[in-house]
Structure formats: structure tokens, C-alpha cells
């Protein structure tokens, strides 16, 4: 259908970003293809060592899902995106395909082993999420291609993740966000993944900060080094949400807290975190 309608046609998932953008005339599609009436596109399933999420699965469904809660970082994200009304409509597939630099899901899922399954008239392909987002609001999806499913591998034993985002009020995009995943061996961090949202055109993988944690204990010294590396890694744009310096400090502070929560979860502790707002 998309190939017939031409380049100006767009797909409509939850519509919680696209419809506001259309009202502002930032998006002006000639046609909208509404995916919401297609059955079987919203589900959360455990299969083998993975959780599979249909592209049209709403944030609220993920928030309530016992299967998704087994990967706590998924719950952190789903429970705090925007507000109740938006979580009831907005979808995980739409969020990834929109690739808003301030979106929540991409940063979270980039700390996990995540694959995106895409569907087009030419067939199906499975892409690692790391190669999926190419620029702000841009993915490698072809014009006539859709996200059909998101596959998240169960994290390994003795590992834990956490996602923290700060926003000025519930319905708005975060000012900065931090997703962290730690694999621990006793007190020592075996491996770390740190991805920051809202502080670059695409989610920023803080490679140097990850390096400071690898092989070290999660103590004040390691946290300070990771925060320093995060401040250097991010390139935030100053805007109405805050100056570049403010966002740099905020990102570092969120990373610190997320590391602490991830480490506690890796030890098996139950910790509840989500977005922070006034």
C-alpha cells in the first residue's frame, strides 16, 4: 500500500508524536496508513531466551506485563513515558521507527541485545537495533517497510539494568536520560552498557564510561570516573529544556543513579525506578 501511495504517505501507529507534528504542519503526509486495525500486532511473548514485542504494543501494556517486568529496565521505561493517556496509545514500534532524539525506547533497548524485525513487500529482515537508527528522526527503514517486532534477549545471570530520565513535567520528552546495563561477577563489573538519550542526534553510547567500569568495583571512584566520561561523551543542544552544561551535568547525575540501581538489581535486589518529574 505504501509503495502505491508514494513517498509522501506515512504509517500511523499510536499517533502520539505524529498527530501533534501534523497539527504543527511539521509533518504533512499526503496519506496516512493506520496500522491500528491490523490484528495480532500487539503482544508480549516469551520465546526461548527472548522477549518478543509486537510493534503495536502500547507502552501501557508493557508497563502492566509480567513478562516484560522480568527485564526491569523495560518496566522502568514503559511506566514513565509521558502520561497515562499517551502510554495507552503510544507504541514501542512507533517510538523506535520515529527515532526522536529524545525518545525513550531506543536508549533503553540499545543497552540490551535487541533486534528489530522489519517487513516489506520484499520480505522480512532482522536488524540489530544498533544499526537501525541512522540519524535524528531517521532509520534504515525503506519507505515501504515497517517494524513488525522487537526482540529483546533475556539478560544474562548476575546482570541488571536501569533507566532513569528527567523531565520537567509528565507529558513532555525528557531533558536527559540514562540507560545502564551491568554484568557483575561478585563485586566486580564484568561488562557495562551505557546509553544516553536527549543529548545527541541519536542515542549516545558512552563507550569511555563503559570502559571505566569494566573490571572495576562499583565504588565512588568508579562512579566519579564514569560521570566524568559521560560529561565528555555527550553533545547536548541548548534549548528551552536547559543549557548544554546543565544537560551534561544532568546526564552524568542520571548515569550515576542508574549505575547504582543496576548494580543493586544485578545482586537480585528489587528496586523501583522510572522517570523523574515535578
Amino acid at each position: 500500500m505504501l509503495s502505491q501511495l508514494g513517498d509522501d504517505a506515512k504509517v500511523l501507529a499510536g499517533g502520539q508524536s505524529l498527530i501533534p507534528l501534523m497539527k504543527l504542519r511539521f509533518a504533512n503526509p499526503s496519506h496516512l496508513v493506520d496500522l491500528n486495525f491490523i490484528p495480532g500486532t500487539a503482544y508480549i511473548k516469551e520465546e526461548g531466551a527472548s522477549v518478543r514485542l509486537g510493534a503495536l504494543t502500547r507502552h501501557a501494556e508493557i508497563e502492566k506485563s509480567g513478562i516484560a517486568a522480568r527485564i526491569p529496565i523495560l518496566h522502568d521505561c514503559a511506566a514513565g513515558i509521558a502520561d497515562t493517556q499517551i502510554r495507552n496509545r503510544g507504541t514501542i514500534g512507533g517510538s523506535l521507527a520515529e527515532a526522536d532524539p529524545s525518545g525513550d525506547w531506543a536508549a533503553v533497548l540499545l543497552t540490551q541485545k535487541t533486534e528489530v524485525r522489519c517487513l516489506s513487500p520484499r520480505g522480512e529482515r532482522t536488524l540489530p537495533l544498533a544499526g537501525f537508527i541512522s540519524d535524528a528522526y531517521t532509520t534504515v527503514l525503506e519507505h515501504d517497510e515497517l517494524v513488525s517486532e522487537i526482540v529483546v534477549k533475556n539478560p544474562e545471570k548476575n546482570s541488571g539494568g536501569a533507566y532513569l530520565a528527567f523531565k520537567r513535567s509528565a507529558p513532555v520528552y525528557p531533558t536527559a536520560s540514562a540507560a545502564v546495563h551491568l554484568a557483575m561477577e561478585g563485586d566486580t563489573c564484568k561488562d557495562a552498557a551505557i546509553v544516553l538519550g536527549c543529548v545527541g542526534l541519536v542515542p549516545v553510547k558512552a563507550t569511555a564510561a563503559e570502559g571505566t567500569l569494566r573490571g572495576s568495583k562499583i565504588d565512588d571512584k568508579a562512579l566519579t570516573a564514569a560521570m566524568e566520561a559521560v560529561r565528555a561523551a555527550v553533545d547536548p543542544q541548548p534549548d528551552m529544556r536547559g543549557s548544554a552544561e546543565y544537560k551534561r551535568k544532568l546526564a552524568a547525575a542520571l548515569v550515576k543513579r542508574a549505575i547504582e540501581v543496576a548494580a543493586r538489581r544485578a545482586r537480585g535486589e528489587q528496586v523501583e525506578v522510572s522517570h523523574i518529574y515535578a
Partner: protein, 162 residues
Amino acid sequence: MPEVIEKVGIQLKVNGKPYSASVEPRMLLVELLREEFNLTGTHVGCDTTYCGACTVLMNGAIVKSCTMFAVQADGAEILTVEGLAEDGTLHPIQKAFGESYGLQCGYCTPGLMLSTYQLVSGNREPSEPEIRKAIAGNTCRCTGYQNIFKAIRLAGHKMKGA
């Protein structure tokens, strides 16, 4: 020449009553409710998916009716503020908002009552954090929210056993 936009026939239930309409696909759900069905209790506050004044219940879940197309509600069951009262008797949520002074100008109130409806439907004794989270998508510029929290707790209390 203005482009002629083909209309689409839809059928839905609003406040328990069947409705049908022929609408342009670009029409928003809130416009359908207010302008076609004359259900003007659902308000348009910001029209930017922020304020929640347009909140309605669709198939048991609250949505911002300014951020959905009317055609997307084809086959849906919608509850608006007009559907809360039954036979001239106010719904416990409406009574609770009145008794607790949970409103001043009243503009945000219909949306807040629908958000309350979703919350207390599943939880008659919501904690303060649960209330705050449930209505985080509803902006009130008058009350300072304290009396709204009271109203929601009272609504849950009134609905116990119901």
C-alpha cells in the same frame, strides 16, 4: 480549487448509545464528540497532547481525544463526562469532586474525572503516588491539585462495594 475530501462512515458507542457519522479522515475524535455529537463536556485545552482536558475513556482506557482521529474510534466504546451521571444522579466521582472542592474554573474537570474513572475502576484505595501518576497527564491551573487528590480518594471510597 479546494480538494474534496472523501468522507468515511463510522459507527461507535458513546455513553452507551450507538452513534454513526460520516467524517473526513482528518477529523479529530474531540471534534467529532463536540461538533458532530454536541457532547461539549469534553474540552480542548492545549490541542498539543499536553493538558488532558480532552481526556475520554475509550474501550476502558483513557486517551487524549485531540490526539486521535475520529475514524480510529470506529467500533469503539467511548465514555465522556456526559455519560457519568445516570438518570439525573451524579456519579460518585462527580459528587466527590464537588464535595472536595476539587475544581475551581472547571475546565480541566471532565478530563480529570475520566482519568479518575480509569484509576478507581481498578483501585478503590489509590495511594498518593498512584494518584499523582494517574493524573500526571491532566493539567489544572487553578486548584494546586490538593483538593483533586482529596476528591479522588473520596471517589474511591464512595465506589467501594460498587
